[in-house]
Point group: C2
Chain length 195, copies 2
DNA sequence: TATGCTAGATAGTAATCAGTCACTATCTTT
DNA sequence: AAAGATAGTGACTGATTACTATCTAGCATA
């Protein structure tokens, strides 16, 4: 049938991770099988285990990939923005844009979080969210210090709501079945959030 | 070990649904097996198929159960409350309390939503969220009419954010691994939401 | 061009999945 | 108490799961 494709081990690992992220946009992460991943990248199922010790190891690599990318994107967006509220807005939009590009990411992270007992991947997700939350709280406190935010505001709740607002958009897109729309709705959502 | 239990068909269906809801609080709905459900309710796996035509039929019954309960709870909470903002708060707290009692519910509904092609159960979830959103938007518009809300507010986005706020709390509880805490955090979250 | 290494294919494994079915225990009705 | 109805058992099926042993094709270096 088709000729063999020969990729370097590193390139194959990279392609595997990208394939998993893409597949999570189409089906439930929990039901994703190694067979499905292999098929989707045009390789036999057994070949995956030459590059990953186990399926869990694949998830680990995927979460690491996501964590690295999302933090880089969000950090780049906020970089150099003086005003903390403007920085928050830039982060919000960058976050939403990232999700629109990779619709599988929220499901993927969510899926890891609801593992009953923590795996390496789920611990990584927790760490990512922890860092993200701290960053948000820092900016919120800074904004409070500058008098741009009511001092009475519960910073912790506000940070949770930031993530919740993104979640709300994601939920809407799941219902509508149209991920692209959340980019358009994002400014209005943040506008509401700011108040 | 334990003696056999003989329940009526209706009672067994009810127990099945309750078991599934409870199990969703402990593990991923997508990985839930009929064997696991049966084991958890002290019955053999084959017995389930005497009461449900298929596994999908179980999901259908579960979603129907949730939809009925959650709407009833929320409606009861808002009943007789004159002020629309106060009604929203009552709904919010009732919603959060319901989730605290049944931590599996958000995962369950989420799981149904990310089915690639709609099943009977996923259509039911969509319908539930649609009804819920309309109810929220009605109350928000009413509050706007009474001048309790800025007229500039995007009602659709505000409704999405209401659900998003709940989602944010759920997310926090997933990270913290402590569902009970969200009840305590709920008032602060709604307080933030109101502004 | 010959050699050594590695990526991938092929073809397995035991375990687990949803679903079926003949049989049995239990309840209800008479 | 007898009999019909029904809830539950336990052993099965074929498909699918993660994972592996063995073989083959392609690449780089000499």
């Amino acid at each position: 049938m088709s000729e063999r494709q020969h990729l370097s081990a590193e390139a194959r690992r990279e392609r595997t991770v990208e394939t998993v992220v893409a597949l999570c946009g189409e089906e439930e992460p929990a039901t994703l099988t190694t067979g499905r991943i292999a098929e989707s990248m045009g390789v036999t199922q057994g070949a995956l285990f030459r590059h990953f010790a186990s399926k869990d190891a694949i998830w680990e690599a995927v979460v690491a990939w996501v964590a690295e990318r999302v933090m880089a994107r969000v950090a780049a967006a906020a970089e150099g923005v003086e005003d903390p509220l403007a920085a928050l807005e830039a982060m919000f939009l960058a976050h939403v844009a990232f999700i629109a590009e990779h619709p599988g990411v929220p499901r993927l992270l969510m899926g890891q979080l609801q593992h009953p007992r923590p795996t390496a991947a789920s611990r990584m997700v927790r760490g990512l969210l922890e860092r993200y939350r701290r960053r948000l709280e820092g900016l919120l406190r800074e904004a409070q210090g500058r008098g741009e935010l009511r001092p009475a505001i519960d910073v912790e709740a506000a940070a949770a709501q930031f993530i919740g607002t993104v979640q709300g958009l994601v939920m809407q897109s799941l219902i509508a079945g149209d991920v692209g729309r959340i980019v358009d709705q994002a400014p209005a959502a943040f506008d509401l959030y700011r108040h």
